[in-house]
Amino acid sequence: MALDVARIRQDFPILHQEMNGHPLVYLDNAATTQKPRQVIQALVEYYEGYNANVHRGIHTLAERATDAYEGARAKIARFIGSPSPNQVVFTRNGTEALNMIAYGWLRQRLRPGDVIVTSGMEHHSNLIPWQQAAQAAGAQIKYIELLPDGTLNQEHYDRLLAEGNVRFVAFSGASNVLGTLNPIKEMVAKAHQVGAKVAVDAVQVVPHMPVNVVDWDADWIAAAGHKMLAPTGTGFLWGKMELLEEMEPTYFGGSMISEAHLSGAKWAECPAKFEAGTPNIADFIAFGAAVDYLSSLGMENVYAHEKALTEYAWERLSEIGGIRLFGPRQPRAGLISFDVEGIHPHDLSAVLNADGVAIRVGHHCAQPLMEILDVPATNRASFYIYNTQAEIDRLVESLLHAKEFFGYDV
């Protein structure tokens, strides 16, 4: 079913403003999405109606807060097909979730000579934690080759796995720069065949398409709520229960113990073990509201909407002389990175901004990928449920304006 975008847009107050004298066109959704009224309202209701700490008080407010907080966990678990809500660990963002794997599992097990396999297309958050762990242990990192079309060389991946000693594999389900959708299920299965554990950076996947973690069979996935309508300060780590049980907590203190004595302590069950201290209660309750919102739209419909927009954008952008679009045409995530010959991304985005069009320019926290692509930076337009074809027309118009402004033929 097609999304009723006009109605959806009414739910996003921020979209109805002028930017530099033009109606705002927000195409930076891969960085963070806007928040609908329903999500903002969930924050207001909590703070005005039942603000209290969770898991502690016996009074009614505390019970209501705990129910809502744990209710959000259950919604998120259902949203990704998790067998149990207790496998969903709340984190500040995607980055923290990935670091928890590094600190809670990998660092304890990595030995000199062990191999970590990842790729050159990764976001720094899915790279630096592993580099650091490898350095500390004297382990080695091997990178899956990137093919010219922006996909990973699966034969090279096979070879790396066959070379032996691979303990851990980490890759992104969707690249935040190239838009590449990696074959998650296949890549996970191959890693398991050589006995490696696998983390999937699903930060750019979960907001955009139906996800079933049981089907993927990954050992962990990381995601970010703020990229799927929820407030900033929200993300989660999902893990297989036996691995979560095996893992060490990253933080210690209140709320994460089952018993504490002067002689030592025992950890609480998952997920409490990983959530020391007072959590970000309001924002996770609002994350629950965001998941409700997306679920009511239907993730198949969200995916189809983005796919159609992206195809349209690809076509329109291709009409522009001197443009280079990065990554595969299809299948791809709902974003397109591009370069316009002779116009540096900073200059381009200055003109776009003056025209009310917000895109992201820079290295997108993927400097190694910029080196592979041999560009200093790229421009990136990323789409979500409230974007329209008319907005893509505005993007194209503004790109032509930029070319004209910098004195190129259009």
Binding site: Q17, H346, D347, A350
Partner: protein, 155 residues
């Protein structure tokens, strides 16, 4: 709403004609023959990359300045304009020019006539994220001078 949202961005305040001219027709690109001062800097956040080379004549004045790099129009135009302005200056004068440029780019009130056409970059002060672009070549000069003077003192 931020103030920028309420006051439309004035593109031509940022990109004055002389900036676009230096960007399109960069002056003094290349390498000097006997560089006494040479510095390469990179701004990883935007990928701007500039190297500046300076040679001194017998009278101690800058007799050649060349630069190379890639980046946005602001960083490239700034390097180009700087290279033109430095020729014939003593290092002390270059230092003075640089301090004056830094003050202008930070948006401090003042008389910047001595900067000549470089004043076209004054609009950058209203775009804080672009200040780093405008100052990259000047930072090359600054650090190059420091190294040169440090080397002199030691040797």
């Amino acid at each position: 709403m931020t103030s920028e949202a309420r006051h439309p961005v004035n593109l031509s305040a940022l990109y004055q004609q002389v900036i676009l001219d230096h960007y399109k027709k960069p002056r003094n690109k290349g390498a000097v023959e006997r560089a006494v001062l040479k510095k390469h800097l990179h701004n990883p956040t935007c990928g701007d990359d500039v190297e500046v080379q300076v040679s001194l004549g017998e009278d101690g004045r800058i007799d050649d300045v060349k630069w190379n790099g890639r980046g946005c129009s602001i960083s490239m135009a700034s390097a180009s304009m700087m290279s033109v302005a430095l020729k014939g200056k003593t290092l002390a004068e270059a230092q003075e020019l640089m301090q004056s440029f830094y003050r202008m780019i930070q948006g401090e009130e003042g008389n910047y006539k001595a900067l000549g056409e470089i004043q076209a970059l004054s609009g950058v002060s209203k775009f804080p994220v672009r200040i780093k672009c405008a100052t990259l070549a000047w930072h090359c000069l600054e650090e190059g001078m420091k190294e040169y003077e440090g080397g002199d003192a030691n040797g």
